[in-house]
Amino acid sequence: MKSVCIEKKSHTRQTWGSTLAVSTLPALVIGAVIFQAAGVSSFRAYAVMLEGAFGNWYAFSEVLVKAIPLMFTGLAVALAARMALWNIGCEGQLVFGGIFAAGVALFFHDCIPDSLMIPILCSAGFAGGALWALIPALMKACWNVNEIISTLMFNYIAVIIMEHLYFGPWRDPMGRGFPGTAMLDPTAWLPRFFQTRIHLGLLIALAAAAAVYVSLSRLTWGYRINVIGKSPKAAGYAHIKFTRQTIVVLLISGGLAGLAGMSEVCGIHLRLQQGVAVGYGYDGIIIAFLARLNPLAVPVIAVFLGGLIVGGDQLQSALHLPSSISQILEGTMLMAIAAGNFFAAYRIKWLRSNP
């Protein structure tokens, strides 16, 4: 007779690589079930996704394009989570980064010298995102108001304000009713490379990842953040100022997400319009936890998730399956991450009872 027993391991070791592998597997299985249920061979569906995302240089360049905002939002979530803060508001911060960048480019491009345009756009995007995180940050730091719900509410508010702007006061007067602002001045376009849509945002995102990594692992400030995140009690004994650090971290986190909006508006859409808010803020949550909050792993995971999204879009055009399959796979992966900690910490042992 056999019976099972659950035993705690003496030590656990999880890397982002193993997390990625272990969480992708169940997602692929669930995806296969869904494909079969939808009447499509799952092998064919996955082949279409893989081919569509990594099959040729152009497809892969589109994956990198998608990965740019994902890198920013992934970093934003990861930085906050290092301090045990939940920034679920990246979507709204992305939108406000986009609004600020578009506003600067639309209304002030005449008074900004060309060479300063891109640094100013970056600052505007960062400021917009940080501003959008300010109220949740203050509410969390000073009154301990749940930041998950407050940041989330601001997502809905940001999208409504953006729609108001491009349907209303900022609408292109020459646009014949097209819901969007006028095209931004070419000086505000992020330069593109290799005749693809890959733009300067990629380099900015990689630099941001390096900066977050260095701050977290090499600076006293980063050390403080990690202490608060791992043990608020110890942080209290060490006289680390919880209130100030909460505000600072959430503002920087919001600013990073704001850069995602800036890079989308100035690198891809070249105007403020529908399609700026398509959920990259929420994808950031999955990226951060797949990367095990490691800022250097975030860009790699962002490319992976970008591939998933581009592959999902291919399913829509090639097999007429809704592209929301990528969202289903993401949800399953996040569940697997949540369950994975248990399987990393415990092992299931088969006991053979002696007769």
Partner: protein, 307 residues
């Protein structure tokens, strides 16, 4: 006068989904499990309810199917949180993402179709109720049920031994376990109940409130329900108050649209429910000293026996 009744009737109609979901989440959180997947479970409920109603024509099947679908998603969350000691925030967010994705995947062929209609009560004896009659007669049976459920749920939670066990599981699971009560069973039960209520709330949206299926049609009402749970200090009757405030703001929006009054720009009106939720969350946490004490002490913390 008729304007007041118009606004009140719509306010009540708009509050029901948030109320149902909040009652469910109160039970879930009281037992010690935080489920941030309400939005996803609501969407799954809305999609399932609409499709079952559309294909079978039976409201009863539609609502039960929606509850079952919500319960199923909640069950995944329960397995992750109770047995696998998962991080409940991550697991809840995963439920929301999965629910949003699944509902939009499965529901896509049904966008824009006309489903079943649920009749309003409008019978003579309800219209005859003084004062509330004209308001109640514009509601459906499910709304009345939700209104009755709020005080009933409050009674069960605070005045029965069953409710005591639920609260004990969320306050001090170790002591509860030592007293011979299965914390695991109560946490599973309450999480699944929360899923059923969220599923029902979703079906209310797609069958009664705004009949039809649309991607993301819950529009944040699941999250608002979670905020109402905090506002209510985990008490169902106070959640009713919160839900009515939410409904009232929605009704104002309808009223201004219907009458063509442009006192307040339309986009500001659309913002109001979210701003109000933030304000309520803020006052409940920052001003109310009660809230801190009312939070179930072991909310979000996994419990396991060290054998």
């Amino acid at each position: 006068m008729s304007d007041v009744i118009f606004i009140a009737a719509i306010a009540l109609k708009s509050s029901i989904a948030v109320l149902l979901a909040a009652i469910g989440e109160i039970f879930t959180e009281r037992s010690g499990v935080l489920n941030l997947g309400v939005e996803g479970m609501m969407l799954i409920g809305a999609m399932t309810g609409f499709i079952i109603g559309y294909t079978t024509g039976s409201p009863l099947l539609a609502f039960s199917g929606a509850m079952a679908a919500g319960a199923l998603l909640a069950l995944i969350h329960a397995v992750l949180c109770v047995h696998l000691q998962a991080n409940q925030v991550i697991s809840g967010l995963a439920v929301t993402i999965l629910g949003t994705g699944l509902s939009s995947f499965i529901g896509r062929p049904f966008i824009g179709r006309v489903g079943i209609r649920i009749e309003t009560l409008s019978s003579d004896w309800i219209s005859a109720v003084p004062l509330l009659g004209p308001i109640l007669s514009q509601q459906t049976a499910i709304a009345i049920m939700a209104l009755v459920l709020a005080p009933l749920a409050g009674y069960v939670l605070m005045h029965t031994s069953f409710g005591l066990n639920i609260r004990a599981s969320g306050e001090d699971p170790k002591a509860t376990d030592a007293a011979g009560v299965s914390v695991t069973a109560y946490r599973y039960g309450c999480t699944v109940f929360g899923g059923m209520m969220a599923g029902l709330a979703g079906a209310y949206l797609s069958l009664v409130y705004t009949p039809g299926w649309k991607e993301n049609m819950a529009g944040g009402q699941g999250w608002i329900a979670i905020a109402m749970v905090i506002f209510s200090s985990w008490k169902p009757v106070r959640a009713l108050l919160g839900a009515l405030i939410f409904g009232g703001l929605n009704a104002l929006q309808f009223y201004f649209q219907a009458t063509g009054l442009e006192l307040i720009p339309a986009y500001i009106l659309r913002l109001l429910p979210y701003l109000m939720t933030l304000f309520i969350l803020f006052t409940a946490t920052a001003m109310g000293k009660k809230t801190a004490g009312a939070t179930p002490a072991s909310l979000g913390k996994p419990f396991y026996r060290e054998d």
